[in-house]
Symmetry: C2
Subunit: 340 residues, 2 copies
DNA sequence: TGCCGCATCCAAAGCGGTTTGGATATTCTC
DNA sequence: GAGAATATCCAAACCGCTTTGGATGCGGCA
């Protein structure tokens, strides 16, 4: 069933049927009702491909996964983030189109997406410092929203980010208030902008409290359970190691907890842990009393917000660039306690 | 730059240019080279939307996430699975289109995908027993491949699955060979077909060894760290609890390990654990000596395979339905040991 | 030389919608 | 009651590509 067929059955022109379905004003209310009824009856729905060609829009929003950021795919937050994205975009008639690319083909892939017209806008994730994708998007004229920010980029662009610096400042300050003086940091890969901001927040809290910054108490790397374990084990084995650690993800924290237990120590007593919690649905830290004390911000909510912003941008390219900073909440669990 | 523009610059007809680019034989080699050079120079690429309308194909493969299976999104294997899917489909010029739907709208969403023509084929994930999506796909005439199988469906369909039954038979048998007699099971949600098959494998091993099946030693539920912890804690607190446990995912196993440690026991000594390992990149169990003894099969590899099968199916709907059973490997780590 | 087949290219008809630019009643305005 | 505004509908162009059904020219063959 297509438009022509449907309109001829109705004894109307395709124009009128299209307009009736599209909600345009220049069609009689009764006619509109007839059309709607017939469309429902014959289960007619405008062909997206034709619609896309006619309107010049694909109704797709794109997300490109580069092997450079393979951790992205591999990243436990990926599922929740994508979930938030699709939830909102589906409601607006958009679907999410995923593309994978070799890292050295990344720019070519974006250009291809543009020249083929297969997406109307793009979500950029995991920005690094001076991320060159942003200039590229401007260059090819593709609407986009960044999940996070890229330090070092002067040109304005739309983004949605968590206030990572503030969150880590608060987290470290929370430990300081508990009396801790030697505080470690197990961070994500600091080439990622969010991780750099987190370190900055952590360091500024120490400085504000008049505490020295000791690089040997910190580490960075992929946010895996393994790495959390290895990093924590190293810290715990140190002479004069930390009595508390700020950890950049729940996955890392699970690894750190393992190391603490292996060392025969008790988390929240001998060693305090405060984690960043993306509020992932399958790694819930939302028990009555959370296991991990954490600074929490839902990555799914971020995905939803980003889809909203991007779709507004697509529908009206001349509107101003939206930028939104989300604050993380501090939740107290069982993994922290006063310094000995 | 579009076809018309490009062809007029070349002094050729759109027909010839299209054919030259498409690799059709009826075009002079020299002409073809000229066209290719011009296309590269002007960075021309056929508009996907127009191509889609003209050919009647969208070059999209679809994946629908239902809130019914919200765990799916939330599922840690999601990222890796999607990764495998996109890797392969991108190579064939397809992209992956994700759609989210309320569970009571699921059938409507599939029909919509069909009537709008927005995807050429669909990947069905997480089948349950008697999964009604399979009949629906047949009904609407949509090419599809199932990740897993659905017991109770008589009609043939294409699928790629792991031999879950055999894997769990082997896992339980491995524990039995170590001398364990009371063996627990912490399974996924058994409404999921794979989980039902896993239980069946587990039970058949016990039966084969002449051991009784004790339902109180088993549990099922979402495969979260929390649930793993709770289930293991319950088993360990039992009078005459199990000396070994088969666990359906690494995430569950991490929770179980926590319970074991909290109980003051040593994993691999007091209690043995064997897990199912999807070989997720961010929850690697691939250390020199793996932490967890496991039956392992890469879910990313499954995604790749599925994309291949689906694209073959789309290109040639009359070809036979492919069905592939992958075997899991058994890797020995530190989480198992002989019975006391 | 005349006919055929082959190589090469092109005009035009879709694909299934949206949208511009009227046409035709009908209703208002004074 | 005439002219204007309004409501309602339609024909046809267009989006950018693929593909069908020739057209043209040339060499080969009898």
């Amino acid at each position: 069933m297509n438009l022509k067929e449907l309109s001829s059955r109705l004894g109307l022109s395709p124009t009128t049927v299209s307009r009736a379905l599209g909600g345009y004003p220049e069609v009689n209310a009764e006619t509109r009702a007839r059309v709607a009824a017939a469309a429902a009856r014959y289960n007619y729905r405008p062909n997206k491909r034709a619609q896309a060609l006619a309107t010049g829009r694909s109704f797709n929003i794109g997300h490109v996964l580069s092997t450079k950021n393979k951790e992205q795919l591999v990243n436990p937050i990926f599922g929740d983030f994508i979930g938030g994205l699709t939830e909102t975009s589906a409601a607006a008639g958009y679907s999410l189109s995923l593309t994978l690319t070799e890292s050295d083909q990344e720019a070519a892939t974006f250009r291809k997406l543009k020249s083929e017209g297969s997406v109307d806008g793009i979500v950029l994730q995991a920005p690094v410092t001076n991320d060159d994708r942003i200039a590229l998007m401007h260059d090819i004229g593709m609407p986009f929203v960044v999940h996070g920010r890229a330090s070092g980029i002067a040109a304005p662009y739309a983004w949605v980010d968590v206030n990572n610096r503030h969150a880590f400042h608060r987290a470290a300050m929370f430990l300081i208030d508990l009396g801790h003086r030697r505080i470690g940091l197990i961070n994500g890969d600091e080439r990622m902008d969010f991780a750099a901001r987190r370190r900055s927040g952590y360091e500024s809290a120490l400085t504000d409290a008049g505490l020295p910054i000791d690089p040997t108490l910190t580490s960075q790397g992929a946010m895996t359970e393994d790495n959390g374990h290895a990093a924590a084990a190293r810290l715990l084995a140190m002479d004069g190691g930390p009595s508390a650690i700020v950890v950049s993800s729940i996955t890392l924290a699970i690894g750190a907890r393992r190391a603490i237990q292996e060392a025969g120590l008790v988390m929240g007593q001998d060693v305090s842990l405060i984690a960043y919690d993306d509020d992932l649905s399958y790694l819930s830290n939302r028990q009555d009393v959370p296991v991990f004390t954490a600074v929490r911000s839902s990555v799914r909510a971020a995905g939803q917000k980003i889809a909203e912003v991007l779709i507004r941008q697509i529908n009206d390219p001349d509107r101003g660039l939206e930028q939104e900073l989300m604050e993380a909440e501090l939740v107290v669990g069982t993994s922290t306690g006063p310094a000995a």
